[in-house]
């Protein structure tokens, strides 16, 4: 069973990563990041179940909490950027360079 879960986790992570790299819309990129985080959660939980202790489960909760906080801040930033620049494209926000 473990293998299948891990393969799923890897697939989800790859999809998320590709989404981050390919998509321009900030909201989609953001959701792809969430997808990667959840892929990790799945892997943690899988290993926790296989090894038979609770550390992986606990880490998964931590990740969820952090992700929730991140959603709050991240979405706020995206909304603010959209308000000021009329665009939610990550490529348009490239002022912080050189």
């Amino acid at each position: 069973m473990t293998t299948q879960y891990l393969i799923l986790s890897g697939l989800l992570f790859a999809i998320g990563a590709m989404g981050v790299l390919i998509r321009r819309n900030a909201i989609v990129v953001f959701m792809c990041v969430e997808l990667m985080l959840n892929a990790c959660n799945l892997a943690f939980v899988t290993f926790a179940r296989q090894v038979g202790n609770l550390e992986g489960q606990i880490i998964a909760f931590f990740v969820m909490v952090v992700a929730a906080a991140e959603v709050v801040v991240g979405l706020a930033i995206i909304v603010t950027i959209f308000r000021t620049r009329r665009s939610a494209s990550v490529d348009d926000a490239n002022l912080l360079k050189y």
């Binding site: 981050v20 790299l21 321009r24 990550v90 490529d91 002022l95 912080l96 360079k97 050189y98």
Partner: protein, 635 residues
């Protein structure tokens, strides 16, 4: 031969103990005139003359105090103060040699001071002129009175400075400024020799004082003393305008004429002779290679100077060539050991009189001729300036060695001694005397005889008494001094405690072979000059002349040689060095800075501002790390 080495120095008291006043008085004069500046314009020249005369009085008193002492006490040391602790003290050495120089410097110097009152009367900067003259007298006295090489060197450079300031006195003329600079720099080449000579003296003998050197050197001659001798000779060549460092003297005539008389004829340029004679017992003993080198340099220069003198139309440059030549005679004499010293110093003293006489005479002529120096524009001046004419003629007769005048005794003494010791050089000196007869007669004929060739606006007139009285005094010296000094060996006996003397005192022959040959050649030279410039008309524009004339007019290509050997390569070297410094060394430094700056500028470009690029690089980085860990097999 009696050597001066064994004679002990005595600590001086009395008048001799006060001889530092000789130096301090004119120095004080210079300081007052320079510090108070324009406020002293009204009486500055009088102060200058007074200080110089006061110095002369001290010198005369010192002289009489000295001859009042027995022979073996005539080396008096005046200790002043500790200069460089453990190395050298400031002190004066009053002996017959130094007091002779002091008398010449302050005596002739005072006359020239007085003359300058008239000569510089119309110059707005006359006060500054007297300040420099006083500075010169002080420095020259320090040079000859010091009891060690360091003090001598301070005076040596001091007279160089005074000479620089006075040649460039009319510094607004670019030619004067260049001539002043050239004189200083060429002299510095000689100073280099003197400096390194002092290094070796100190290293080898542990002292720089004349009084201690005798015992330390102890008559030993080896490679060290030869090296010292040659280096000191280089110094002497610079100061005394001897070959190969002669080129500055002719240009130095840019200075006011009294300067040419005092510094570039009577006193400063003879400092080289003083140096050789003073060091003679240690480094130029009779028969040594160094002494031979001195004699050769002297003989070569006496001919070169005479040849240059033949072709000059500028009266001052003609006299300058003659000065070179006469100092060549003195050097020749100084290279012959104690037998020649008395004649060298004697010629130095009489030359100081007759050459100053002629230079001041030339100044008097220029004074009456709107500062014209070209002899082709003179002619027939004897009627208009009788006193100048007569005094000039006296100087002329003295320099060509007319029997019984000063120059006759001293120059003949050198020639005879030279023929006796170094026959080849001696006969060259005879030839030089013949050329002297020619160029000096040429000068007389072109200036005082023949037709008027003046410019329309020239109104020649005799100079005021303040200028002619010094001329008269100098010409009296030019007549009698030589006979007094040389006949019955007065000077040789007087100088013996300082420089030693030959065991057999020479007897002056009025009819020796070299003496008669000299007279004959001088007569031929004078006759030829009369034939060319007395009887024939002198063209106002100089004719082109032969190859030899051009050679002499160009100062035997001395300047051209210096220019192509030193100046141009030096300029190239300077340019290359500056380029190397800016582009090479600084280029490396700035290149390094630019390299670091450029690299960081390029690396900066990686921060594109695109979040997705960063994400990709994070991914690649993570993948690479994982891959690396897998490869190492530690996972």
């Amino acid at each position: 031969m009696e050597s001066p080495v064994e004679i002990v120095q005595h600590t001086a008291g009395g008048v001799i103990g006060l001889s530092w006043l000789m130096i301090v008085l004119p120095l004080l004069g210079a300081a007052i005139l320079l510090v108070l500046g324009r406020k002293t314009n009204r009486w500055g020249h009088l102060l200058g003359v007074a200080m110089s005369l006061a110095s002369f009085v001290v010198a005369v008193l010192g002289f009489f105090a000295l001859i009042g002492l027995p022979d073996d006490q005539r080396r008096q040391a005046v200790h002043l103060y500790e200069f460089i602790p453990g190395m050298v003290d400031m002190g004066l050495l009053i002996d017959p040699l130094s007091i002779s120089f002091a008398l010449l410097i302050t005596g002739v110097g005072s006359l020239i001071h007085i003359y300058s009152i008239g000569y510089m009367a119309h110059d707005p900067d006359r006060r500054r002129f007297f300040a420099y003259l006083n500075l010169f007298v002080a420095a020259m006295l320090l040079l000859v009175l010091s009891d060690n090489y360091v003090g001598l060197f301070i005076g040596w450079e001091g007279v160089g400075l005074a000479s620089y300031l006075l040649i460039g006195f009319w510094q607004f003329k670019p030619s004067a400024a260049v001539a002043a600079k050239k004189a200083f720099i060429v002299n510095r080449v000689g100073d280099f020799g003197l400096l390194v000579g002092m290094f070796i003296i100190w290293t080898s003998f542990g002292t720089l004082a004349f009084g201690d050197l005798g015992a330390k050197v102890n008559g030993v001659q080896d490679g060290t003393t030869l090296a010292i001798g040659l280096l000191l000779l280089l110094g002497a060549c610079g100061k005394s305008a001897q070959l190969p460092l002669q080129s500055w003297l002719l240009d130095a005539m840019e200075g006011p004429t009294p300067v040419s008389a005092l510094i570039h004829a009577a006193t400063m340029v003879t400092a080289g002779v003083y140096l050789v004679v003073r060091s003679g017992a240690f480094f130029f003993p009779e028969g040594s290679t160094a002494a031979l080198a001195v004699a050769i340099v002297g003989a070569a220069t006496l001919l070169a100077g005479a040849i240059i003198g033949c072709a000059k139309d500028d009266i001052k440059k003609g006299l300058a060539g003659s000065t070179m030549s006469q100092i060549g005679y003195m050097m020749l004499g100084a290279g012959l050991g104690p037998a020649g010293y008395a004649f060298a110093i004697g010629h130095l003293i009489t030359h100081g009189f007759f050459k100053a006489d002629m230079f001041l005479g030339a100044g008097s002529v220029m004074h009456g001729m709107n500062d014209e120096v070209n002899m082709r524009k003179y002619g027939g001046l004897r009627k208009y300036m009788p006193i100048t004419f007569v005094t000039f003629i006296v100087g002329y007769l003295a320099i060509i060695g007319f029997p019984l005048l000063s120059g006759y005794f001293t120059k003949d003494g050198i020639i005879e001694t030279a023929v006796h010791h170094q026959p080849v050089l001696g006969w060259l000196a005879v030839a030089g005397a013949g050329i002297t007869g020619f160029y000096m007669s040429r000068m007389i004929f072109m200036t005082f005889f023949g037709e008027k060739r003046w410019d329309a606006d020239a109104h020649p007139h005799e100079s005021p008494a303040v200028m002619t009285v010094p001329l008269i005094i100098l010409s009296i010296g030019s007549i009698f001094l030589g006979g007094y000094l040389i006949l019955s060996n007065t000077l040789m006996k007087f100088l013996a405690p300082a420089v030693g003397r030959p065991t057999d005192l020479p007897v002056f022959h009025f009819a020796s072979v070299p003496g008669l040959a000299t007279l004959a050649l001088v007569a031929v030279g004078a006759g030829f000059a009369w034939f060319r410039y007395g009887r024939a008309e002198v063209p106002v524009v100089a004719p082109r002349g032969s190859f030899v004339t051009t050679f002499a007019r160009r100062d035997l290509y001395g300047d051209a040689l210096n220019e192509s050997l030193f100046m141009r390569p030096g300029q190239w070297l300077t340019r290359i060095a500056v380029f190397f410094d800016n582009r090479g060394i600084d280029g490396v430094v700035n290149g390094l800075a630019a390299g670091i700056g450029g690299t960081s500028g390029r690396l900066r470009r990686l921060q594109t501002g695109f979040a997705r690029t960063y994400a990709l690089s994070i991914l690649i980085g993570a993948a690479l790390l994982t891959g690396a860990l897998l490869l190492v097999g530690n996972i």
